[in-house]
């Protein structure tokens, strides 16, 4: 049987040449993402904004959303959103946080239950009060910060500080782009999204670390090879692994996205974007070349290469 070779064995692609394109592209994309974040805003879910979410299924065929909306608007509960969710008989209802604290939230749910009557099945009811939503938001932000700090310290111990900093810059850029993606498609931003962001952070770094590991190994073995050549050689020699791993991860995530059910749909979508699209690109085009700017291997360009080193040059 002939085995699949996604990346030919003797690939010698000059990735470093692209850094003059990839850095401006990334800068532009990051600015765009931040602009999206500010102009469209994140679609905060009830975890962070407080309020009520009900997923109901009409027991008598397709749901009459217009009628439901009319009867719920009559309750005078402020902002009420209805949206078809999954099948034609499933409706997602979002009710903004009620003024008057936690007791008012519960009262609102009772009113909705009374208004919708017995014709619907309540598949999911979530009520988050103002204090809990504030705490969840601060937990989320603190969590992201802690994770970034923890990983930074770990990498600093395992590599030189330039590597730790480079990896962090590259992967914060991942997070910014993913947030932009979430703003663009107005994906519900809740505690599950924080889980997605942390996972993206973990896996993008995973990828970066694999390439860095190789760079470190080559830095020790080839003392005088110019830095861009060495980075190219490192990326090329791990390229096959990067691609194969991203194929398997995408396959798993794609299965989750398509078949995993409505509850983790946006979770899977965010991860697909972050891990597969952005993560791979970042490791190769940002995380590796950034090392040059951070001063790793400074002064190598002028050194003389041995014959042994010439062999691995692209």
């Amino acid at each position: 049987m002939r085995l699949l070779r996604i990346v030919p064995d003797d690939t010698k692609f000059d990735f470093m040449r692209f850094r003059r394109i990839s850095f401006p592209i990334s800068a532009l994309a990051s600015i765009l993402a931040i602009a999206l974040y500010f102009f469209m805003g994140l679609n905060f879910g009830i975890d962070f904004r407080g309020g009520t979410l009900l997923e109901v299924r009409s027991l008598s065929g397709p749901a009459d959303i217009a009628k439901m909306r009319a009867s719920l608007t009559a309750l005078d509960l402020g902002e009420v959103q209805l949206q078809q969710f999954g099948g034609p008989s499933d409706v997602l209802i979002r009710i903004a946080e009620q003024p008057g604290g936690d007791t008012a939230q519960q009262a609102a749910v009772q009113k909705v239950r009374a208004a919708l009557g017995t014709d619907v099945e309540y598949r999911r009811v979530e009520v988050v009060g103002p204090r809990v939503s504030n705490e969840l938001l601060s937990y989320g932000v603190i969590g992201l910060g802690l994770a970034i700090l923890g990983i930074l310290i770990y990498l600093w111990f395992r590599f030189e500080w330039q590597f730790a900093l480079g990896a962090m810059l590259a992967n914060v850029h991942d997070l910014v782009l993913t947030l932009g993606f979430m703003a663009l498609f107005q994906i519900d931003f809740d505690i599950t999204s924080i889980a997605a962001l942390l996972t993206i952070l973990g896996y993008s770094l995973n990828d970066t670390v694999v390439i860095y590991d190789r760079i470190r190994e080559m830095l020790r073995r080839y003392k005088r090879m110019p830095m861009p050549d060495m980075l190219n050689a490192s990326i090329n020699s791990t390229l096959s692994r990067s691609i194969i791993t991203h194929v398997t991860t995408s396959l798993a995530l794609l299965a989750l996205y398509l078949f995993g059910g409505t509850a983790i749909h946006s979770f899977a979508a965010t991860m697909l974007f972050g891990v597969v699209l952005v993560g791979t690109y970042t490791s190769i085009f940002i995380a590796a070349p950034i090392l040059i700017y951070l001063g790793v291997g400074y002064g190598r360009e002028h050194g003389r290469e041995s014959d042994d080193e010439k062999k691995v040059r692209p």
């Binding site: 309540y122 969590g143 996972t199 791993t245 194929v247 798993a252 899977a268 991860m271």
Partner: protein, 532 residues
């Protein structure tokens, strides 16, 4: 050395086998597992998002606890000074402080001795700390008694502990399987009840303080006049529990409180066949109730629940037996609930629901189906891709990943961990990532082969060189998972758990199982070249 000694190999196989076997009880019926010894009864618990149920977070009203604590100090001051026959004026509560002015400066010393006795050392007599429950300050004839913050915190902690016990009794009456009730932080209680179709009744049982009092109705004034604003100082206006809300003037003094009840049962009135709740007092309560009813024949008294009047019957004859019944437009359900609440006892302070997440059993079942589907398809795709890319070694990788997943289930069972839908996603993701360790190893082997090494040499170099990379790259993800575990609750925590365990089993299988499989194959076939 690339090959394992016989003992090491046996240890690896045994470890993997034992961990995998820990998942075994999950496939047996509950009955079979129940007959096992306790230590062996370990299995994965389905999260509320998969089996349906309610997650309710309650908060103790700490302001009420604080207020009650300070007011009880005020009552103590009044009692102590009266007993010592010390004249005083201006007994008031200001924030956490009770102020009182002693009339005669000559009785100051006596008053201070008595008042200082109110202050107790915190944490019992044996406590080493010098911290006391009340600070006493003197300003001329004015005495300020301030309840200290630690004393209030202590009281809040006690309130939460008591509330947990009472909630347990109430929830157990619902007859649900394995409810979870635990303290969260300083002033919160988490209640998780699986398999509830409608949490409305649960919430009603949790939300009621259930403070029951028997008090006299103040007949010196008509309620209509009292509502206008002339309420006697020893009485207050309370309204009926059922619509229309009619006012009653009720004496503040409590004849007998619900704490004196020993039993309460729902039933039916023999004459009217209306639902009622019958109750029984303990000895002290029965004596007090008998005395009160003897003294007040012909006058109405009120049964007050959470500051609402349930009923206000006229005492026709003394009630001496220590038992009685409450009737008051009950339905069968509400009579039953009141009986449950009375048996369980009153909460020390009101509880507020600050978070509720309920998943119906229908959605839970759908999520399980969807999760399984995604897992099977994701795994199948990865398996096929690995075989297409690495052939025989792809099959090795797939065997390693299968063992890996079985081990994840084993560890989850061992920890009695909760499996949620995001948790399933974590496992699916682990399948995608676990092959990464194999990919790292295989790609390294391919490189070493290209560099001109012999088959066994290339395999050995591939394994040893890839391992440090595998460790480094997995630790970063593990840090993310650990943080997620720390900040997340419910489903998200389930994701962190499977992700974290998945990383550990992945590193274990990559270091041992995969290598053992490849080494065994090399010994058996003695290949001249590596087929990858």
């Amino acid at each position: 050395m690339f090959f394992y000694t016989r003992w090491k190999a046996a240890a690896i196989v045994l470890t993997a086998f034992v961990v995998c076997m820990c998942a075994f009880p999950n496939f047996l019926s509950e009955k079979t597992v129940d007959s096992w010894p306790k230590w062996a009864q370990r299995h994965i618990v389905l999260g509320l998002d998969l089996q349906g149920g309610s997650h309710i977070l309650l908060e103790v009203d700490s302001n009420a606890v604080r207020r009650e604590r300070v007011e009880s100090v005020r009552d103590d001051v009044r009692r102590v000074l009266r007993e010592a026959r010390v004249g005083y004026t201006g007994l008031v509560v200001r924030g956490n402080t009770v102020e009182v002015r002693i009339r005669e400066s000559s009785s100051m010393d006596q008053a201070l001795v008595k008042l200082r006795e109110l202050s107790q050392p915190l944490g019992g007599v044996m406590a080493a700390s010098a911290q006391r429950s009340i600070d006493v300050a003197v300003d001329g004839t004015l005495v300020r008694l301030t309840v200290t913050e630690p004393a209030i915190q202590e009281r809040i902690r006690q309130s939460v502990d008591q509330s947990i016990q009472i909630i347990e009794r109430r929830v157990n009456e619902l007859g649900t399987v394995e409810p979870l009730i635990q303290r969260q932080g300083a002033d919160r209680v988490l209640v998780q009840v699986p398999g509830l179709q409608d949490p409305t009744r649960l919430k009603e049982l949790l939300g009621k303080t259930a403070k029951l009092d028997f008090r006299m109705v103040d007949t010196s004034i008509q309620p209509e006049q009292a509502v206008q604003g002339r309420v006697p100082s020893e009485s207050e206006i309370l309204y009926s529990s059922t619509a229309p809300k009619t006012p009653y003037v009720i004496e503040r003094r409590v004849l007998v409180s619900g704490a004196e009840l020993t039993d309460a049962q729902p039933g039916f009135d023999q004459r009217t066949t209306e639902p009622i709740v019958s109750f029984r007092f303990n000895t002290a309560g029965a004596r007090r109730f008998a005395q009160a009813t003897q003294e007040n024949v012909g006058r109405p008294f009120a049964i007050v629940l959470d500051n609402e009047v349930i009923s206000a019957p006229v005492i026709r004859e003394p009630i001496i037996g220590g038992s009685g019944q409450i009737s008051g437009s009950f339905t069968v359900q509400s009579a039953n609930d009141l009986a449950i609440l009375l048996r369980a006892g009153a909460l020390p302070a009101p509880l507020t629901i600050i978070e509720e997440r309920t998943v119906g059993p229908g959605l839970g079942q759908d999520s399980i189906e969807a999760g399984k589907m995604a897992a099977y398809i994701g795994a199948a795709l990865v398996v096929i891709f690995m075989i297409a890319t690495y052939g025989l070694f792809g099959i090795f990788a797939n065997i390693a990943v299968a063992i890996n997943v079985a081990m994840i289930f084993g560890v989850l069972s061992l920890l009695n961990a909760t499996l949620t839908l995001p948790g399933i996603a974590g496992i699916v993701l682990t399948v995608g990532i676990a092959v990464d360790s194999n990919v790292l190893i295989y790609e390294r082997i391919r490189e070493e082969v290209r560099a001109g090494r012999t088959a066994v040499n290339a395999l050995e170099a591939g394994f040893t060189r890839a391992l440090s990379t595998i460790l480094d790259s997995n630790i970063t993800t593990f840090i993310a998972a650990a943080v997620l575990f720390y900040i997340g609750t419910g489903p998200v925590r389930g994701f962190a758990v499977t992700l974290g365990i998945g990383i550990m089993t992945t590193v274990f299988t990559a270091f041992t199982v995969t290598r053992l499989i490849v080494a065994t194959w090399v010994r058996w076939r003695r290949p001249k070249r590596v087929p990858i």
